[in-house]
């Protein structure tokens, strides 16, 4: 869901959302229009209007585990359907259950080979781009990705982990209240929707494409400190991993090994500029949202191999 759909249109409120530019697509409504009855792994399930196939899947004891990692589906957030770890087989082929409307008479199967393979491969693809240093992570033990990986019996992700392939981005520790570690971000977009569609703050956005896709700031700032963040903390509460954490809790769940913690785990940190700040929202009023349109072609061809 995007801000263009004014979630509070029925109320007489000022048009707070018109300059918000989250950088995400305006998705269609992917919920059922009426109460429907469908079958999941042989169990008959009736779900109310506004349901997806995943809602039905969650009602029963399924034959196989369906991680649905990026799904949140509360408070105007989701479905983003980016991780594709909720694939199930239906009579219409394999579909992402989190963003497929619950349709009358649909026959859903979680243990079909193609769906099972797709969930496993996509979960491993998520892990391939994730910093898996769980022991230095403040979300260790309360992380959706960790839970899903354990539940899905991941022992050795087939494409390795982030550490195997790329340079780490520095941890953004510049804000007094919220720390961002993009090396743990799975691009589920929950924080962007919490910030724009629920809090109507217009701070966070999705930016870039391909491997450069990342969570950035609508005012073009490079750091959390330079953004128009009001430190409401909603993004932190919806983050499924340790990518967004409250300051003070970065090491809440790390193993107490001397000298080894979240902040020095990747070796590069953006620190606060330590400039005295005024009230909590000093930048919000006088900074215009940056909405310059994407231009240009595709990247130059890289050397091969």
């Amino acid at each position: 869901m995007s801000s263009q759909e004014h979630p509070h249109a029925e109320f007489d409120v000022p048009p707070l959302t018109e300059t918000i530019a989250p950088g995400t697509a305006t998705d269609p409504d992917v919920k059922s229009a009426e109460t429907t009855t469908l079958t999941v792994d042989g169990h008959e399930v009736t779900v109310p209007e506004g349901s997806t196939v995943l809602d039905a899947v969650e009602e029963v004891e399924t034959d196989e585990y369906v991680p649905a990692l990026c799904n949140y589906d509360r408070e105007d957030i989701g479905p983003r359907s980016e991780c594709r770890t909720c694939m199930v087989e239906t009579n219409e082929g394999i579909v992402p259950s989190c963003s497929t409307p619950a349709e009358e008479g649909l026959e859903v199967s979680t243990d079909a080979e193609a769906a099972s393979e797709a969930r496993d491969v996509n979960l491993d693809l998520v892990l391939s781009d994730h910093n898996l240093r769980c022991t230095t992570c403040g979300k260790n033990g309360r992380c959706d990705l960790q839970d899903a990986s354990i539940e899905n019996d991941v022992e050795e992700p087939r494409y390795g982990v982030f550490d195997d392939r790329d340079a780490y981005e520095p941890i953004d520790d510049s804000s007094d209240f919220i720390q961002i570690d993009r090396n743990k971000c799975i691009l589920c977009n929950r924080c962007v929707e919490a910030c724009n569609d629920v809090q109507v703050e217009g701070v966070l956005r999705m930016e870039g494409h391909g491997q450069d896709t990342r969570i950035g700031f609508q005012n073009g700032a490079e750091t959390m400190e330079g953004s128009t963040c009001v430190s409401c903390g909603h993004c932190v509460t919806v983050c499924p991993t340790g990518s967004l954490v409250e300051k003070g809790l970065e090491d809440a769940a790390t193993l107490p090994i001397p000298g080894f913690n979240q902040k020095n785990s990747v070796g590069k940190v953006i620190e606060s500029s330590d400039v005295e700040k005024g009230p909590m929202t000093p930048m919000k009023a006088d900074q215009v949202t940056e909405t310059s349109r994407e231009t240009g072609g595709d990247a130059e061809e890289r050397q091969w191999p």
């Binding site: 980016e82 391939s128 990247a299 091969w304």
Partner: protein, 490 residues
């Protein structure tokens, strides 16, 4: 009448105008840029063609045309023909077969409503007639929301839904679409006008790449000159990146989003499109075929553009023809293979395949109407590797199977060079990218690799053994090593 076709025509036409009172007009490209600027001198049912004409050539033609006593200079081709509103196809390199939807390309002044009216005429057929005549037209290209499916059912669905429907003409990226936009924009707009009437649209958006300035300018001029267009019509630009042609990204661009990514589906744009309204998205080619169908023309032909290690051409083939004719029209005779059906088409050496969706699909080839020739010294392993890397660099970044899958696929292909050819792991990834990506970009991105593995297995195995049969990869690697060695000595 003297016509000067193609890019660079202005200067050549200006030279001709200096020397004659006979009308000299700039027309659009013929689809064969290799012979352009092309001067066509038409007099008394005969047209003489002068390929790659210079201003001097144009002057020598202009100085004698219209003078009954003096003969035209020797032409590269001459065609005797009836007075016609279509280009008489000359016997020149690059032209192939008869032309239906491309008939007026290189013959009419693109932005002249009079030329179009005189050639085929504008029709304002009733909605029912349009559905009857053109409802069976199959959507052309990956930028068409209804690719390879009959359009009529889509239109009727949009018409029957509540809302204020929109029509999007997707002229982004594909060379066939760009040719029609530049050379016969009225046919494209007429098709859009027909569909706008069928669905009772309130707005038509014409979507072009920001780098196709000629297409944009020509479409804008034609839209302004169009007699009684049934709705508002606006020409909108998007970034030139390949992904920006995807139908839902086209809609995002039309809405003015500053960053483009694919929308979830279903439901598709026919239910929630531009600003949430039911929307028809077809390519320029599809709309031109719709206009042809309403006139009673044959619409089974396919527009195919040939590119890669050859001369670029855009031709039109009948469904009984094979893609080989198009490749031959480009002048390519010796090639390693051809990627058939777009940026993410299928790689093949066997070109005896009809250009129809069914025949192409049977061979796991694409239907986007682009044939990319790999020259005789090209390495198919490096080619599909680079294409996989392109997918990794150029995807919108939204879904995991496309964003992370294309990156891992490129790495698995690189591993082959290090001796590790894990085919099961590669094909597993290809299956999941194809079955779980949100849009056609990620769903089609595996095809060059999948077909390349099938068609050139021996090359992949050779690379795993440290050999490149075409020699290209080793040459590249040697050159790189030399560059590095040079850099080290500095």
């Amino acid at each position: 009448m003297v016509r000067v076709a193609g890019r660079g025509a202005e200067e050549v036409a200006a030279a001709a105008r200096e020397r004659t009172d006979v009308p000299v007009v700039d027309v659009g490209s013929t689809g064969v840029p290799g012979v352009e600027p092309l001067v066509v001198a038409t007099d008394d049912g005969r047209s003489a063609f002068y390929a790659n004409a210079t201003p001097d050539d144009a002057e020598s033609v202009a100085s004698v045309i219209g003078e009954p006593t003096r003969a035209l200079p020797d032409a590269d081709a001459t065609v005797t023909h009836d007075e016609t509103g279509a280009l008489p196809v000359p016997d020149l390199d690059g032209f192939s077969g008869s032309r239906s939807v491309l008939a007026r390309c290189g013959w009419l002044r693109p932005a002249s409503a009079d030329d179009y009216a005189e050639s085929v005429g504008f029709t304002d057929a009733a909605a029912d007639e349009v559905v009857d005549a053109a409802g069976g037209v199959l959507g052309r290209g990956w930028g068409d929301w209804n690719a390879d499916e009959p359009a009529g059912a889509l239109w009727e669905g949009v018409r029957d839904r509540d809302g204020s429907p929109a029509v999007v003409v997707n002229a982004h990226g594909n060379p066939g679409d760009a040719l029609l936009a530049e050379s016969d924009p009225f046919a494209v707009l007429e098709g859009a006008a027909h569909v706008a009437r069928v669905v009772d649209a309130v707005q038509v958006f014409v979507y072009v790449s920001e780098t196709d300035e000629r297409a944009r300018d020509t479409l804008e001029a034609a839209a302004a000159a169009y007699p009684d267009f049934p709705t508002d019509v606006a020409v909108v630009e998007g970034p030139s990146a390949y992904r920006a042609a995807e139908p839902t990204m086209a809609i995002e661009a039309v809405e003015g989003n500053h960053r483009l990514e694919a929308r979830l589906r279903p439901p598709g744009p026919e239910v929630e499109g531009v600003f949430g309204e039911p929307t028809v998205v077809h390519t320029a080619r599809t709309f031109a075929h719709v206009a042809g169908a309403v006139r009673g023309d044959d619409t089974s032909t396919r527009v195919l553009s040939v590119t890669g290690d050859t001369q670029d051409v855009t031709v039109e083939l009948g469904e009984t023809d094979t893609v080989r004719s198009a490749v031959e029209a480009s002048g390519a005779t010796d090639y390693t293979g051809v990627l058939v059906g777009g940026r993410f088409g299928g790689l093949t050496r066997k070109l005896d395949v009809a250009p129809t969706p069914i025949a192409l699909d049977e061979r796991d080839l694409g239907t986007d109407g682009v044939l990319e020739v790999l020259g005789s010294d090209a390495c198919p392993v490096a080619f599909v590797g680079r294409r996989s890397q392109f997918a990794a660099d150029s995807n919108c970044g939204r879904c995991v199977p496309c964003r992370e899958g294309s990156t891992q696929l490129s790495e698995l292909l690189r591993d082959i060079y290090d001796g590790e050819f894990n085919e099961a792991k590669i094909t597993e990834l290809l299956r999941v990218m194809e079955s779980t990506s949100i849009c056609a970009f990620g769903r089609n991105a595996p095809r060059p690799v999948r077909t390349g593995l099938r068609e050139f297995r021996d090359h992949f195995e050779a690379h795993a053994n440290g050999e490149c049969p075409s020699g290209q990869c080793l040459v590249d690697a040697d050159a790189e090593a030399e560059t590095e060695a040079e850099a080290a000595t500095l």
